[in-house]
């Protein structure tokens, strides 16, 4: 009888374990971060011993596609070789999956030690006390001797630096000179304006050539507002950063006219495209794309065509343009090994060998030394991007406060309204009022 009960107990235990199998990884993680905690406090006690002999385990998470995963893993391996006491556990996913996974981890206080962070989420995570202020590490664990203050302050929220800038991007117009010539236009001057843009669009449309493939509403409306001395979001993130709805009307009327004259594809045409390879510009049937500079190399790769870079249309380009941190590494507040995490970030942005693998994939490097070392290494298209960023450095203004916490929802709202305008479902005037009411209620919360 006793034997049988024992057997039963054993079975129940096994089944219990099996049933909880799905939970195994997370409980392991808790264990590890628990270990870290003791190590972390010890190293804090003994001052600057973080790079000493103590065993440290760091969890690091990022989003991206396969090439990025591959080189990041290589960089991690190199770092582990040079720092045998550090073990790094990578967690990576695609953009969508990444954020859907990160939020529950944050809720459970189980964020990885180092987190790739995007500008649109930086406020949300830092204001909810998920991220550590990196200010105390600057000049200590993180070497900033070759990095400009402007680049570092890209990760500023309130009084602290909550993300370390890994590279910068800037907006531009990436165009195909051959198609431009077909449309009967010689070149796009550096100081072109929105009027020139509309004029050229008309010329292209007359030849049945698309001039661009639509302006991403949230990005370019913000740019347009900046050229007028305003911003999309108020500095403190509590509302919109412009008062005159006429600005909204002007910008989106222009967008609407582009579609009407046939210079920008209709939204139903764009929705029908199966993927980026079907885009008219990629197929050599359109002049160019308004986008971020880190997308330039990809555009040339996927199309097999040669493109050139022009700035966005003016007037007041330098007020509108800014260097956008393409992504950050943040250290989570619940990390027990913040110093070790900061050291890794320093390595990632400053080490030349590591950056020969990264090759500017996370934006144009912020370290001037890395940048000059990379110039000989990179392809022609990447070199063109570096050159453009150098030009933007002299022709831009500071980015200003990071996007507020509700930014994701605002972006969806304005993109939706812009779509409705292009479909002719709503007038720019109505959309302007609509946008203001809804946006203020989202940001006001």
């Amino acid at each position: 009888m006793k034997k049988l009960s024992l057997l039963l107990l054993g079975m129940v235990l096994i089944l219990f374990l099996a049933a909880c199998g799905g939970d195994e990884t997370s409980s392991e993680e808790t264990d590890e971060s628990g270990n870290n905690e003791t190590e972390g406090t010890e190293s804090e006690d003994s001052g600057e011993e973080a790079s000493g002999d103590e065993e440290v385990t760091l969890r690091i998470a990022w989003w991206g596609s396969q090439p990025r995963h591959d080189y990041t893993l290589e960089v991690i391996e190199m770092y582990e070789e040079q720092n045998p006491n550090v073990t790094i556990e990578p967690e990576y996913a695609s953009w969508d999956d990444y954020w859907q996974k990160l939020a529950p981890q944050a809720a459970a206080n189980e964020l990885p030690d180092i987190i790739a962070m995007d500008l649109s989420y930086l406020s949300q995570y830092s204001q909810n006390n998920q991220l550590a202020d990196l200010t105390p590490f600057l000049g200590e664990q993180i070497d900033v001797s070759n990095i400009s203050d402007n680049a570092v302050s890209g990760g500023e929220v309130g009084d602290g630096i909550y993300g370390f800038n890994l590279g910068v991007n800037a907006l531009g117009f990436h165009y195909n000179p051959e198609v431009l010539a077909e449309a009967g236009i010689d070149e796009i001057p550096e100081d072109w304006t929105w009027e020139d843009y509309q004029e050229m669009s008309k010329q292209a449309a007359e030849q049945d050539i698309y001039f661009d493939n639509a302006l991403k509403a949230d990005v370019f409306f913000n740019y347009y507002l900046r050229t007028q001395g305003k911003r999309l979001y108020a500095e403190d993130g509590s509302g919109l950063g412009y008062e005159d709805d006429q600005l909204f009307v002007d910008f989106f009327t222009m967008v609407q006219e582009q579609v009407e004259m046939g210079a920008t594809p209709t939204p139903d045409f764009l929705a029908q495209l199966a993927g980026p390879e079907d885009d008219p510009v990629v197929k050599g049937e359109g002049v160019g794309i308004f986008q971020w500079s880190n997308q330039f190399v990809g555009l040339e790769d996927i199309s097999g065509l040669d493109f050139k870079m022009a700035p966005t249309p003016g007037p007041n380009v330098s007020d509108g343009l800014f260097l956008k941190p393409s992504m950050f590494f943040s250290v989570s507040e619940n990390s027990a090994a913040k110093e070790a995490a900061a050291e890794f970030i320093s390595y990632f942005v400053n080490d030349i060998e590591a950056n020969k693998l990264i090759l500017g994939d996370r934006g144009v490097p912020v370290s001037s030394e890395v940048l000059s070392a990379l110039k000989e290494e990179v392809s022609d298209s990447q070199a063109a991007v570096f050159e453009y960023i150098e030009w933007v450095e002299d022709n831009s203004s500071p980015m200003g406060a990071a996007d507020p916490a509700g930014a994701g929802e605002i972006i969806e709202l304005i993109d939706g309204l812009s779509e409705q305008i292009s479909y002719g479902e709503i007038t720019p005037e109505d959309a302007a009022t609509n946008f203001r009411t809804q946006a203020e209620s989202i940001l006001g919360n």
Binding site: L15, Q124, Q272, E412
Partner: protein, 298 residues
Amino acid sequence: MNTHMKQNLWGYAFIGPFVIGFLAFTIIPIISSLYFSFTSYDLFNPPRWIGLENFEKMFTSDPRYLHSLRITFIYVFVGVPLRLGFALLVAMLLNTASRAVGLYRTMYYLPSLIGGSVAVAIMWRNIFGDEGIVNLALLSMGIDPIRWFGDPTAALWMLIFLSVWQFGSSMLIFLAGLKSIPQSYYEAASVDGASFFQKFFNITIPMLSPVILFNAIMQTIAAFMTFVPAFIISKGTGGPLDGTLLYSLYLFKQGFEFFHMGYASAMAWVMLIIIAILTSLIFLSSKYWVHYESEGGK
């Protein structure tokens, strides 16, 4: 320990895994979601009790919610009857004795096995693309190609077609139901000179009505919860112009894109109530049209 108890223990041991899983992954989440539905919860900060505000917002100040509810109703009330009709049609074709019926049955069932998958939703994008087979067929018939992904109404129809195409499981159940109708009824009707349609409406439909009821309920519930096709086909946006923003997709966006977990939980509970009401309506109506052989042909 007596034999009775021993047997019970064995029983508990075997249902143990299910009970533990059910408690941990079903009951507890259900209860917490009920609690969250009365709160404002963004995953980062502790939930804040706001009473019925979420429910109020849904029906008074969220036009996107009402829109999503509307197209979900269209999707269900157009898609489910079409799917059942199609399933019955194919089941009747397969029921006419043929040597390869086993093969056909498997073939027609295949779409249902793979239908909810990501691969099929991606394939659907190609079929309805600019140069996809559907538009080529339309073109050869002299009809202008349709921008399936660009027109909100067309995009919803595309989702409905996808759901009709996955008729396999209802078809199998219909087929079993058809096989259980005694052949003698049809023979007697033939002797009386009944036409095909008379036989269909006076024998097949009444005899099959319990099966129709079962299929209607199951398919309605499943249709309300459709998520994957809408998510993949619209690339997660619910576009164009929110034309494919089915209820679950909007719920997902509220929860995991905007971090309004409280609102999303409230939406889930409203969906549960809507499904419960619809199901009971179908049940209530059944006494007027469902015919149970065992009750003496009431």
